[in-house]
């Protein structure tokens, strides 16, 4: 399965990439919301792991645009921004799940298995 990881922090992309590749997944990366939209259009990944706080285009906006492009898109938010209103906003934008940082690796893999199936 190809998974798009969108996070402006290279450190977080590295951690998620290592985790997912060790689980047998193929990972492509984006460093902001616009890159995520472009990468989604180019690669049509099975799953997107999306941060919220990113420069230029934030993760909620990018999620909304990706879901407009492809209503079947499966986007999981992975963010430290666990405020209730933000979670609701992300779900309304089309996100299927919301993982709060710092995350347990098992939580990410469970979500990948659930939504990537």
């Amino acid at each position: 399965m190809t998974i798009l990881v969108a996070d402006d922090a290279a450190f977080m992309r590295m951690r998620l990439k290592k985790l997912l590749e060790e689980a047998g997944q193929t990972v492509i990366e984006a460093a902001n919301g616009q890159e995520a939209i472009d990468a989604y259009q180019a690669h049509r990944p099975s799953l997107v792991l999306m941060d919220i706080t990113m420069p230029d285009v934030d993760g909620v906006t990018a999620t909304r645009r990706i879901c407009q492009l492809d209503p079947a898109a499966r986007v999981i938010i992975v963010s430290a921004l666990g405020q209730q209103a933000m979670v609701i906003s992300a779900i309304q934008a089309g996100a299927r799940d919301f993982i709060v940082k710092p995350y347990q690796p098992e939580r990410v893999l469970d979500a990948v298995n659930k939504w990537g199936a």
């Binding site: 402006d8 450190f11 977080m12 430290a80 405020q83 933000m86 940082k101 710092p102």
Partner: protein, 189 residues
């Protein structure tokens, strides 16, 4: 809200926020982190650098996050150069050199992002509002140089928290600086 009332609310919010931030830092770094000391005060911006100098030796790394919500705020996590190196090494699970590489800086920025956002989440729950953070930026410079858009004479609320990371002996400081707007009872010193 009057500045005095704002300080009281802020102080109340800071206690769970500091606890949550330290818990998250502990989970995130895998190190044994505890809050060593805290204080909340309303001070003139001009005196902030002097306060920092009493706790954190220069040179230091400052992780800066802006936040927009009920009122605007800026958050700073301050670590000395050596302690930034130790924290980044703990995050990456490997030794890192000084000056910090881009990847090490990214790890340090993510610590700031997660811990700073934990603060915002507590404040958001308390006030029933949303605070949206800006992406974190790491500055390496003498104290007082990391903040933008703070006019001289501005009154700010400062929450100081000294974190002790046992075994690693990493000391740092968190400053939460809500910017009191004109007419809020403390717009200028």
């Amino acid at each position: 809200m009057e500045a005095k009332g704002m300080v009281a609310v802020w102080e109340k919010a800071s206690i769970p926020a500091l606890a949550q931030a330290s818990r998250i830092l502990r989970e995130f770094s895998g190190l044994d982190v505890e809050v060593r000391e805290t204080s909340v005060a309303s001070v003139a911006w001009d005196t902030v650098a002097g306060r920092v100098n009493t706790h954190v030796a220069e040179p230091l790394y400052a992780v800066h996050i802006g936040a927009q919500g009920l009122f605007d705020a800026q958050l700073l996590l301050l670590f000395s150069e050596v302690n930034s190196q130790r924290l980044a090494a703990a995050m990456l699970g490997d030794a890192v050199a000084l000056p910090l590489s881009d990847l090490a800086l990214s790890a340090l920025a993510e610590v700031g992002n997660v811990v700073g956002t934990a603060f915002l989440n507590v404040f958001a729950d308390l006030f029933g509002a949303v605070w949206e953070p800006t992406p974190p930026h790491v500055y390496f410079s003498p104290t007082g140089q990391w903040l933008r858009n703070v006019r001289p004479g501005t009154t700010v609320l400062v929450t100081e928290a000294l974190f002790r990371i046992t075994d690693e002996a990493v000391f740092g400081e968190i400053m939460v600086i809500p910017l009191l707007k004109e007419g809020a009872g403390g717009g200028s010193a």
